[in-house]
């Protein structure tokens, strides 16, 4: 590992194209991610903002290794996981965890809360009691009482399921959490709670976040750095201060009239 780069996660020139259409049909190429480079420092929160279908989720999938990019490199702690052996690659990839869009739907409906949270640590070969203990601790960390550990996911509210998904992602002690639309679908009255929890966890565990959102105002509330994505490319990137200086108009607009504001960036 070469910590010299100072980035926990770095992407260089990522490309991913989906092909639609069978051999007898007209081909349609969808450039989901096009020449995307980004870098994430420790403790940093990067917001990735863009419309739906602009490739945010594909980019997230590439970063965690669920989708193989057509070209480009991903460096975790300055190391390219592709250059490592299988077991080392798996262990370095654990440092990046993804919380899925619609995390509630990503929880196994037949598993109890504690089983869901402890499942990722099966990979680490710990003893059962160790796993349980760690999982209970993570549940406490995210604010879910351990007396609910035997409940099934459908017995929790949306906000609690989101907390479970966060606890599960924390089990492997990641350095980076990718939050794919974590606030969407949550009640307004608990969005603040989840945001507070994420800020607390960042301070306690020294996490870096990539916060994927379609809401520019929310991103500005939450992030240190903002990257705007449009049709697979990052069209603009900068620290929040720079961003506010240049686009204070647009940010104010987003708060009052969200639909118009994002359009202002398209093709910027």
């Amino acid at each position: 590992m070469s910590p010299s780069s100072g980035f926990v996660l770095e992407a260089r020139g990522l490309n991913k194209t989906y092909r639609q259409g069978k051999w007898w049909q007209k081909k349609f190429h969808c450039h989901a991610v096009e020449n995307v480079s980004l870098a994430l420092r420790p403790h940093e929160t990067l917001a990735l903002v863009g419309e739906s279908g602009c490739g945010k989720t594909t980019l997230a999938m590439c970063l965690v290794g669920l989708v193989t990019p057509d070209s480009g490199q991903i460096l975790i702690d300055g190391t390219n996981p592709e250059s490592l052996g299988k077991s080392e690659r798996a262990s370095i990839r654990r440092e990046i965890q993804l919380i899925f869009q619609d995390s509630a739907g990503a929880l196994n409906p037949r598993m109890s809360a504690i089983e869901i949270v402890e499942e990722p640590s099966l990979l680490r070969g710990q003893s059962r009691s160790q796993r349980r203990k760690l999982a209970e601790q993570k549940m406490e960390d995210v604010g879910i009482s351990t007396k609910w550990k035997d409940r099934l996911p459908n017995e929790f509210s949306g906000g609690q399921r989101q907390r479970l998904a966060i606890a599960r992602a924390l089990m492997l002690r990641p350095k980076v959490l990718i939050l794919d639309e974590v606030f969407v679908g949550l009640d307004l009255s608990i969005q603040g709670q989840i945001a507070n929890l994420l800020i607390d966890l960042q301070q306690a565990h020294g996490l870096s976040y990539i916060c994927i959102s379609h809401n520019l105002a929310l991103a500005a509330q939450f992030a240190d750095t903002i990257a705007i994505m449009d049709r697979g490319r990052i069209v603009e990137k900068g620290s929040l201060e720079e961003f506010q200086r240049q686009h204070s108009m647009a940010l104010t607009q987003t708060a009052s009239r969200p639909e118009a504001a994002l359009r202002a960036y398209s093709g910027a």
Partner: protein, 349 residues
């Protein structure tokens, strides 16, 4: 200011219903209860009253578990088997939906009243989305298929799809979440219904697309006189609404013209909820220990009988009476009503 008892309120509403015979939808004392596995009963909706005039947009603001989706399903008579309508009536365009026979109801559903589901995965995964929109049209209209195809194409174009032909032929998995959502909305709008019940129409959509959807609703209202019942947990979605109802734990806690509700909220729940909007506001909360506002605690369990106000356990302005007496919906002006002891002459401080 006057305090209305449930009976007076009922009488008032029936007077209103008589005077405004042309209401498109009139819901009176609608209560929905459900059976629990343990044999008990819980109530999800408690005596809901509201009307929708032709071409009117009524917003329903409420969080998960507040009963807003149940209300939507009850209006379509599509409640799951564990839930039943225990009381009330739903008059739609002169006929009581609760007494209609199945065949007539089927004609109304989808063509006169349509529902946009909250769940975005209502599409058949092995059928082209264009055909799925056309299927609705085929069920209700007797057009030649070429004309139907043109209708669907033009609606897709109206909905902001740039490449209609590709979208028409695509399967659901080839579309993004926002695109699938718009297809589901197209299914609801294709027959030009009189009333569209939109349950979280812009959930999961980015602000750009949701703006387009809202603009589309506005255009539909203007061009076809469609009335909308917009159901959402997000106040931003309701910007289009003329009137709004705020629901909490199966009750309407406040109602009135949307602008007034948001500029001077009266019920403590609505006040707290509107404060939570800071997460998407322009002024950034700063500092090492920044904290976003939220409403602590949880909504009451619908199976538990609550003697007092259902919001009292989370309320910042709780009084002694709140735990023991159930507040009634009090008219505080001609257009507004609120269910809280803080208001009206009957306020017991």
């Amino acid at each position: 200011m006057e305090v209305l008892t449930a009976n007076q309120e009922r009488a008032n509403l029936s007077r209103l219903a008589l005077s405004a015979k042309n209401d498109l939808l009139c819901v009176r004392n609608l209560s929905v209860s459900f059976r629990l596995g343990s044999g008990g009963e819980g109530s999800i909706l408690k005596q809901i009253n509201f009307t929708v005039a032709p071409g009117e947009i009524v917003g329903v603001l409420g969080e998960s578990g507040s009963g807003k989706t149940t209300a939507a399903l009850a209006l379509m008579r599509m409640l799951p088997s564990v839930a039943q309508i225990s009381e009330g009536s739903i008059d739609f365009h002169g006929s009581n939906l609760l007494e209609l026979e199945a065949r007539r109801l089927r004609e109304i559903r989808g063509s006169d009243i349509s529902l946009i589901y909250q769940d975005s995965d209502v599409l058949n995964p092995v059928m082209r989305v264009g055909d799925q929109v056309m299927e609705v049209l085929r069920a209700h209209k007797n057009f030649p298929s070429e004309q139907m195809r043109d209708e669907v194409r033009s609606l897709l174009a109206e909905m902001g799809f740039a490449d209609c032909d590709r979208i028409f032929r695509a399967y659901p998995h080839q579309l993004s979440g926002g695109q699938r959502r718009r297809i589901a909305i197209a299914q609801a709008l294709i027959c030009r219904p009189r009333l569209v019940i939109a349950d979280e129409p812009t959930g999961w959509l980015d602000s750009n697309t949701s703006g387009e959807i809202i603009a589309l609703f506005a255009r539909f209202r203007r061009d076809y006189g469609t009335a909308f019942l917009l159901i959402s947990h997000d106040p931003e979605t309701l910007t289009l609404a003329d009137q709004a109802l705020v629901m909490y734990a199966g009750e309407i806690v406040e109602r009135g013209p949307l602008g007034e509700l948001f500029s001077e909220p009266k019920h403590p729940y609505l006040q707290a909820l509107l404060q939570c909007r800071t997460l998407a506001s322009e002024s950034r909360i700063v500092g090492p220990h920044r904290r976003f506002p939220f409403i602590a605690g949880q909504a009451p369990d619908p199976s538990a009988a609550i003697p007092g106000c259902c919001f009292s356990n989370r309320c910042a302005d709780r009084m002694d009476t709140c735990d023991s007496c159930r507040p009634e919906l009090i008219a505080i002006s001609s257009a507004r009503a609120v269910r809280c002891f803080k208001y009206g002459d009957g306020a017991r401080a």
